[in-house]
Amino acid sequence: MIHSKPAPDAQLKTQLAAPRQTLLMRLTLKAIPKKLRLRWQKWLAKRIPASRQFTLSHKSIFILPSAFGLAWVGLILLLYLFGTNYQNNLIIGLSLLLASLFQTCIIYSYKNLAGLRLSAIKNPQIYAGGTASFAVELSHHDLGLAASQSNPHGSRDNRHQQICLRFANQHHVRVKHVINEQLTYVPLDNCQRGRLNPGRITVESYFPLGLCRTWSYVDLDLQQIIFAKPKPYEIILSAADKEAQEDEHGLQRAGVSEFNELRAYVPGESLKQVAWKQWAQGKGLLTKTFSQPQGKPLWLLLANITGHDIEERLSKLAWQVDELSRRQQVFGVVLDNAHTIEQNIGDSHRITCQQAIALFQTKSGRDEEASHAG
């Protein structure tokens, strides 16, 4: 098959469907004793260890007939009985052909997953709430030692088709063809702030006839810190405790960073600061400059932010961190006495702050501190 170079988003058709957990499945899950489930997890961890990159092979691919496959077997039996009772060899032959077709499909469905390489792509940031997407790159990797170019069978595009990826009890994403290096995003609903381990990705396919489910549970070591959900709020900057006492002028110095002027864009400058509106008006590329705050270093204090609960306050803080970073302003964050991030500037600083906010007063955050202390 010949593929023209399609637009990347057209190649990858993401379709969301409701999470596939029926009542029956939940009941059966409950029926399995915890001990057994733990053992299964252990066995799985040994068989398919966590790794940022994983290539599916016979060790990690499971194949079982799907419900339709069972119906198919039923049809085969029915036809065989029908043929036997009418003593018609051709009907018996048809039933045997269908049985043989089933068998061929098993080979094809195995082939469809074998050699599929999944690589986790580093995810810069994921905010809580809404749907998080974990980027995974799908590609083909030959299991044997032969160079992939020497394979005369089938075009590369048709190696892996109709592959569905999802986290347990989550929406799936479906990849229709794996073409070269195919980037896909596996969704995860309702993430909470803090350190998140989304667990194993179920990689499954019903190709070619839907007779068997071919699947694998891949652990791509997708641990991720989920940032607090930003919530717009008034920016309250203040001097930190000691300085605040010295400075009688008090706490409020809001809205310092004012828009200053437009000047010609210099290649290499952040595109975030390009005045697109002016560019659209045909005035050429211009950069917005902001006046840098001079004077005392500024702190964002969690204590200064009001809200229903700690989560809302953290959300507001997260928004402020992003906003100040966008304005390229120097700031530090004080969460409480034990959690203080020194003033700095730039994206890495922003990430540090957000991570601290994300882990603040969460179980995983506390665990981490304990391990550091130890």
């Binding site: 098959m1 593929h3 023209s4 399609p6 057209a10 058709k13 379709q15 469907a17 799907s66 419900a67 339709f68 198919w72 049809l75 036809l79 009985l81 029908f82 036997t84 009772n85 009418y86 003593q87 018609n88 060899n89 051709l90 009907i91 018996i92 032959g93 048809l94 039933s95 045997l96 052909l97 043989s100 077709l101 068998q103 061929t104 080979i107 094809y108 195995y110 082939k111 044997g144 030692l145 032969a146 160079a147 020497s150 394979n151 005369p152 069978h153 089938g154 190696r159 088709q161 109709q162 479906r174 229709k176 063809h177 073409i179 019903y206 190709f207 070619p208 006839l209 839907g210 489910r213």
Partner: protein
């Protein structure tokens, strides 16, 4: 059911469904009742409308009520049209209604499964080679539907424009109507599945029918169980095949045409108009499933017990009687032997039926005649045909010895001005008198009944036998074809000490009809070809076309014999021929071996396995390196890492051969030379060859040379490492 990932039914799926619908329904159209055809057609048109976006899907209520209505109607008429016909109609209606009602991928799958079942159903009646190929094609199209569910179109660049039309969501794409790649893939899958299916077909056990199934109601063809004087002349107008016979090679080659009297029916009651079976025989026949008729072993005369073994493939006649020569016996469980030495099937012959027969032409048929049968065989209608009775009395007077009397009666037909015609003038009330004394023209039925009538009148038990006479020999495959126009009637007379003897008065009038077959005495065009316009029998007089006809016919014959008629005995024959005398476990091993070879081949063609030189090259190189490491001749990974931190080592590789071969060779050279200089030299050469073969673009001749040296060195190194 967690089947497809979403419930969109793609456009190519819809298209294949349109095609499948016609393909599956068309072979069954004569089984469908007219109003079912109507509903199917409406459903189809509706679906076409939905496909082109002209109409919306029908409301669920309408479909449900239609389904319930159709099912009830069918239930009511089921007794009239037969259970099986009702079932087919029900399935077809369900198929058609589901077809317009389908909303989910799941519905499509149900359609596909029912489709396969309907294909199986068609095979019940349409089972010639061509029909089988046709239905195989239909299966391929049906499989396409499934493939289209799981394989996207070959053009990935398509705008997905989910559209809501009625309740069915259609994904539109710019692709062409016919998706050939899906068809090719379907064909490939089926073709790859065929070899294993064939093996299974041969070895899979054939069971006897597990329970009685209803059969199709069909117009019966061939002889009927009563014979009026016009009946056989109707049959002579039919060029349909009745049955085919293949004689076992052990029996003497070709039988002469005059020996081929295929007994089918014994008619021993005459009411002045028609001959029919006596009620007692009819009772035996209807009860044949419950009470097995007493079976007598053939009464052989000791000195001449010639037997003829042959195999008959009967075409569907929707009757139960079968064909056999003289005293016919068979041990086929699907049929039984009747007291009058005929064969009788337990079920209606609704499809080609193959059975083996052994006949004893010299056996005596009923040395003793029971009183009841004697009285039945002497019965005559009262007060009819006085002239015939007078003639019979005269014969009895002139020839007191029965055999002489019969010979005289036979020659009477010869001496008088009788002539043989397929369209005789009508007969009056005194049928036999009219024929013998007024018309003096008729065909086999007239002559046979006249002879039987006269024999009975003189006190000799006699009966009419209806069947077929002759057969067309196919030199290609060496079998006889018996057509409906070869239908014939003759007489059997019981003689003391000789049993029932065959007398064929037709042979006296038209001897060439018996000696050389029907075609010799009649022009086909005026009889069996007059009603059928298109039949290959028309080619009889064009030699090369006739040859072709024979070839096609023999193909069909072998098909019937070896595929349709394949059973446990045939299976044994095939296995014996292929493997000789082997045990069951050996056979199982062979089958297992063959199946795994097939699996490997499929896997290979699917692109799972590939054998290339490069593969071997790498494997051999790596295996030597591994061996060197195992011998402790090379430092482990950690050491190498510390010494040469720049060596690009694959993150997953546990050992050093993943390091560039040149560096690896250089690293191990000093230590290896220390331990074993010969090995070191060999390995250096081996490594150099590997590099050359892998990375250099060599001319083919040189490449071959290097490959040879590479493999030679490989063997030497392996041996060397093994010894050291």
């Amino acid at each position: 059911m967690q089947d497809n990932f979403d419930s969109h039914i793609g456009r190519s799926t819809l298209f294949w469904l349109l095609l499948t619908n016609i393909a599956i329904l068309s072979p069954l159209f004569d089984k469908i009742m007219p109003w079912s055809i109507g509903i199917c057609a409406i459903c189809f048109l509706w679906r076409v409308g939905i496909y082109f976006g002209r109409v919306a899907a029908p409301p669920k209520l309408l479909v449900t009520s239609l389904a319930i209505g159709a099912a009830t109607t069918l239930g009511l008429v089921a007794s009239q049209i037969g259970a099986l016909n009702a079932l087919v109609n029900l399935l077809l209606l369900g198929y058609a209604l589901k077809y317009i009602e389908m909303r989910q991928v799941r519905d499509v799958k149900v359609l596909v499964l029912v489709g396969y079942f309907l294909i199986g159903f068609s095979l019940l009646e349409y089972n010639s080679i061509l029909n089988t190929l046709h239905l195989l094609l239909v299966s391929t199209i049906n499989t396409c539907v499934l493939i289209s569910l799981y394989q996207e179109q070959s053009q990935p660049a398509m705008e997905s424009l989910p559209e809501s039309r009625g309740n069915v969501r259609i994904t539109r794409s710019k692709s062409s109507l016919l998706n050939l790649s899906q068809f090719k893939f379907s064909l490939k899958l089926l073709a790859q599945s065929l070899p294993l299916a064939l093996i299974l077909f041969v070895v899979f056990p054939r069971l006897p029918p597990l329970w009685l199934m209803p059969s199709m109601d069909n117009a019966r063809t061939g002889l009927s169980n009563e014979m009026a004087f016009g009946d056989i002349s109707q049959l002579t107008r039919s060029a349909e095949l009745a049955f085919r016979v293949g004689f076992d090679s052990k029996s003497q080659g070709r039988l002469a045409n005059q020996d081929l009297y295929w007994r089918t029916l014994v008619l021993d009651e005459y009411d002045g108009k028609t001959w029919h079976q006596h009620p007692s025989m009819q009772a035996i026949q209807t009860l044949v499933r419950q009470i097995k008729p007493t079976q007598s072993t053939p009464d052989l005369q000791g000195h001449n017990n010639k037997s003829i073994a042959y195999n008959i493939i009967s075409e569907p006649s929707y009757q139960k009687w079968l064909y056999g020569l003289d005293v016919a016996t068979s041990d086929d469980p699907k049929l039984t032997m009747l007291p009058d030495h005929r064969l009788y099937a337990l079920n209606d012959i609704t499809q080609r039926f193959s059975y083996a027969v052994v006949s004893y032409p010299n056996a005596v048929m009923d040395r003793e005649l029971s009183k009841t049968i004697a009285s039945i065989s002497l019965q005559l209608p009262k007060g009819l045909n006085p002239q015939t009775l007078a003639l019979a009395a005269q014969f009895k007077l002139d020839y007191p010895k029965p055999s002489d009397r019969l010979a005289a009666m036979m020659s009477y037909f010869n001496r008088q001005a009788f002539f043989y015609t397929l369209s005789p003038p009508p007969l009056g009330k005194q049928q036999v008198d009219d024929f013998l004394f007024n018309n003096k023209a008729g065909f086999c039925a007239h002559y046979a009944s006249a002879l039987v009538y006269m024999a009975r009148a003189t006190g000799l038990p006699a009966r009419v036998v209806a069947g077929y006479q002759g057969g067309e020999y196919n030199p290609e495959a060496g079998y006889y074809s018996v057509y409906q126009y070869m239908a014939h009637a003759w007489a059997e007379v019981w003689l003391e000490g000789q049993g029932w003897q065959r007398f064929d008065p037709t042979a006296m009038i038209a001897p060439e009809r018996i000696l050389d077959g029907f075609d010799a005495s009649f022009d086909g065009a005026s009889s069996y070809l007059s009603d059928t316009l298109f039949t290959s029998l028309r080619f009889k007089h064009t030699p090369w076309l006739n040859d072709l006809r024979y070839k096609m016919a023999s193909l069909d014959y072998y098909w019937s014999l070896w595929v349709l008629g394949f059973d446990e005995t045939k299976k044994q024959q095939v296995l014996d021929k292929l493997f000789g005398d082997i045990s069951l476990s050996q056979l199982a091993m062979i089958i297992l071996g063959l199946s795994s070879v097939i699996l490997l081949l499929i896997a290979y063609s699917a692109g799972l396995l590939h054998f290339s030189f490069e593969d071997k090259l790498n494997r051999r190189y790596l295996s030597i390196c591994q061996r060197l490491i195992n011998k402790g001749l090379v430092e482990t990974k950690a050491q190498v890492n510390s010494q040469a931190p720049l060596a690009p080592i694959a993150p997953m590789a546990p050992i050093t051969p993943m390091a560039p071969p040149q560096r690896f060779a250089a690293e191990i050279a000093p230590k290896l030379t220390q331990v074993n200089p010969k090995l070191a030299k060999q390995f250096a050469g081996f490594s150099a060859l590997y590099i050359a073969l892998k990375y250099q673009n060599l001319p083919p001749k040189q490449r071959r040379l290097k490959q040879k040296r590479f493999h030679a060195l490989y063997r030497k190194l392996r041996f060397g490492l093994l010894v050291n």
